[in-house]
């Protein structure tokens, strides 16, 4: 069976209705995907590697594509065909790109957006991004065991329309339905639940591998507005690695190194940098290709001194954004840290000092944007319909439903659902050619209509005649914020519609509601048996009517003995169906099914013969 998840109270999904949705942080250096499971957000790891997928795509001559770690290994040896930081090219023209530093690719000018000439042909940044998104989509679908209904993808707050459109196109190319593009700083704020506050101004400090973004957000009535953004497109954690590497090479007198040694030193410096976020000193050690050893002990103080200029560099855009937004640091209610580089203690200290308050750091800064996007995706996919947009909650005291065949109640809005709410369910016709349906709206916890309270009745007319079960009638219950219930029914094929409005709580005192609830509990067992009986009776009645109409049309297909046997069985089933023994009805029903098997087969043969009569075999389209 399908595996279930823990839901928030009152939010269990109807069968087949839990929608799989993800949030994707499509980053310059790394990308990741997150979702909400068991009502908790989490990032999804790949099959072998971890949660972070390097945003690197390599095109091979045979047309195949490598993404992530595998592609990263060829970054140096096959740089022309290994695309890194493709996000910088999204929605950009050749002039924009060439103004920047990256000249390692064979760019091709094209209408609107630059293209990259690779061994596998000319690729647009949209296609390259789509390769990354495809990997994340497959990762999510295998982890969640199903197809995604959609994704929320994050983009920098400063992305213009062309860049946003390019991101959307990439998602579509990867087979993802974009529920919404979300600004990265907004996603980070949502991850911290800041949208649950009523209002306030927040700052998001995002120092990634190669870029720095600072944004000021204003929250009012649960909606974030970006007041100002600033940043440095060439400042990130990698610069801290570089600074340490320069120092290490100076120390060892190794200023002139071949590229592979430079890279080895960088990799080691990155490790030392990360270690220094936890420890106060760390040993750096690299063996160079000529056998020399580069060795040094680095203390946190030394590292901080080496990178003080870089830390100071982050504060310039911070001041600028606050100035643009006409705000002082005291106006900022909270600062969210995003990006792996904000793990460095000197960054945290600088932010704390500048804003005079401790930044928010509880959520892993690598994951915070993806987590916010996942929370948003979960809401947009409809998994948490109510609650989110409404601070003031009210609940429905008793379940609301409609009468179905056999005098049974089908509950559509369950007790304790928060209002406003809207729930829909599909029903169908019971008889061939049925053109109208009576809708009886009831309230209560019991299984039988006679034990519940009748609220309203109306009819849906003008259903086109169809075989029983072919019509699809969608009944929608809507309870607005004032507790006003409107029920509408619509035949989806023809569009015929009817509706009614009632106020369900009208005339019921608290005592009466409590009494109806108690009755529901007290009669749980009896109700369960009664529901089983009624369902069986409805099934039997349907069978009786079907056999009777078949006899009327095709009775001549049976010989006298067969005809007599079926009539006898019909009478027995009718008699039993008037009683209250569900088991006996079931036995008689099964017997009837068996008895009429040959009859049904003959009727089928007759229909086929009629359809084929007078046709040549050659004319038949099979």
């Amino acid at each position: 069976m399908a595996l279930l998840q823990l839901a928030e109270p009152g939010q269990s999904a109807a069968p087949h209705e839990h929608r799989l949705a993800v949030g994707i942080d499509l980053g310059t250096t790394h990308s990741l995907v997150a979702t909400v499971r068991h009502s908790l957000p989490e990032c999804l790891p790949g099959e072998q590697c971890g949660i972070l997928l390097p945003s690197i795509v390599r095109y091979l001559a045979d047309g195949s594509v490598q993404v992530g770690r595998e592609a990263a290994e060829h970054q140096a040896t096959d740089s022309q065909n290994t695309i890194v930081s493709v996000k910088r090219f999204m929605g950009r023209g050749l002039a924009d790109v060439e103004a920047g530093a990256s000249k390692q690719y064979d760019f091709v000018d094209a209408d609107g957006m630059v293209r990259i000439n690779t061994v596998a042909g000319v690729k647009s940044p949209v296609e390259v991004s789509a390769e990354i998104l495809k990997v994340l989509r497959q990762r999510a679908e295998s982890r969640l065991g199903g197809e995604l209904v959609g994704a929320v993808i994050t983009v920098p707050a400063y992305f213009d329309d062309a860049q946003r459109q390019a991101t959307k196109d990439a998602a579509r190319l990867a087979g993802l339905n974009v529920l919404r593009l979300l600004n990265e700083p907004t996603a980070a704020a949502i991850a911290y639940g800041l949208d649950n506050e009523t209002e306030g101004t927040y700052a998001v400090f995002d120092l990634g591998g190669g870029t720095f973004d600072f944004s000021v957000l204003k929250l009012s009535r649960g909606v974030f507005e970006v007041l100002a953004t600033s940043g440095d497109a060439a400042l990130g954690g990698d610069d801290f690695d570089q600074a340490l590497a320069m120092w290490l090479r100076e120390q060892g007198g190794a200023s002139d190194l071949p590229p592979e040694d430079s890279r080895a030193v960088l990799v080691e410096c990155r490790r030392v940098k990360e270690a220094l976020s936890r420890a106060s000193a760390e040993q750096a050690h690299v063996t160079l290709s000529d056998g020399r050893e580069l060795c040094a002990s680095v203390t946190r103080e030394q590292f901080e001194a080496l990178t003080a200029k870089l830390v100071a560099k982050t504060l310039t855009p911070v001041r600028k954004a606050l100035r643009d937004a006409h705000l002082d640091v005291e106006d900022v209610k909270g600062v969210v840290l995003v990006g792996g580089a904000t793990r460095m203690p000197q960054i945290r200290a600088a932010v704390e000092q500048h804003f005079g308050r401790e930044p928010l750091t509880d959520i892993d800064p690598d994951k915070v944007v993806a987590i916010g996007a996942a929370i948003q995706a979960n809401v947009l996919a409809g998994n948490r319909r109510d609650e989110d947009d409404w601070l003031l909650l009210d609940v429905i005291p008793l379940s609301l439903g409609i009468e179905t065949m056999g005098g049974l109640v089908e509950k559509i809005v369950t007790r304790n659902s928060t209002i406003p709410t809207a729930k829909a369910q599909e029903f169908t016709t019971y008889k061939d050619g049925q053109t109208a349906m009576a809708i009886h709206v009831v309230q209560g916890e019991r299984e039988l209509v006679r034990d519940c309270r009748s609220l309203a009745r109306f009819e849906l007319r003008g259903i086109p005649p169809m075989a029983a079960g072919a019509a699809r009638i969608r009944v929608t219950f809507q309870v607005d914020a004032d507790g006003l219930l409107s029920v509408s029914a619509r035949e989806t094929g023809s569009g015929v519609e009817a509706s009614i409005t009632v106020k369900p709580s009208y005339g019921l005192s608290d005592d009466e509601i409590a009494g109806m609830l108690r009755a529901g509990f007290d009669h749980a067992d009896a109700d369960m048996r009664m529901r089983a009986l009624r369902e069986q009776q409805v099934e039997a009645q349907r069978m009786i009517e079907a056999v009777q109409s078949a006899l009327a049309v095709d009775g001549d297909l049976l010989d006298a003995a067969e005809c007599q046997a079926i009539h006898a069985a019909l009478n027995e089933l009718t008699a039993l169906n008037a009683g209250d023994d569900a088991r006996q009805i079931k036995t008689a029903l099964d017997a009837m099914n068996k008895l009429t098997e040959t009859f049904a087969a003959r009727r089928m043969d007759k229909t086929i013969r009629a359809a084929l009569a007078g046709q040549k075999v050659d004319d038949l389209k099979v």
């Binding site: 069976m1 839901a7 269990s12 069968p15 087949h16 295998s142 982890r143 529901g520």
Partner: protein
């Protein structure tokens, strides 16, 4: 009879409750649904209702409303892995037949 959690299910529920930061236990129940009769309810419980039947399994409180109990009495909730996917599964002895995926059932 009772409603219980397997050891693995209890471990995961306790872990989820801790990460969520609130809740007294887990609520199991049923509701009627369109396609094949009944559907399961599996939710965090923030408070016990006066009418709830409360079980305890491997240290985790299991709450069942009295209307649901006849449908799921004897059920063991399990936590299982299917490929890379994982989640909870109702092992319900009352089930007579269920729809293809088992999300809804008949008793």
């Amino acid at each position: 009879m009772a409603v219980t959690l397997s050891e693995s299910a209890a471990k995961h529920v306790a872990n989820f409750l801790a990460r969520r930061g609130k809740g007294v236990g887990v609520r199991l129940g049923v509701k009627t649904s369109g396609c094949s009769g009944m559907a399961y309810k599996l939710e965090y419980a923030d408070e016990a209702d006066a009418a709830d039947v409360v079980f305890e399994s491997h240290g985790v409180k299991v709450l069942v409303d009295p209307k649901s109990l006849p449908y799921i009495d004897g059920t063991e909730l399990d936590f299982v892995r299917e490929g890379l996917n994982e989640g909870f599964k109702f092992n319900n002895p009352n089930v007579k037949d269920q729809c293809g995926c088992g999300e809804s059932f008949n008793v």
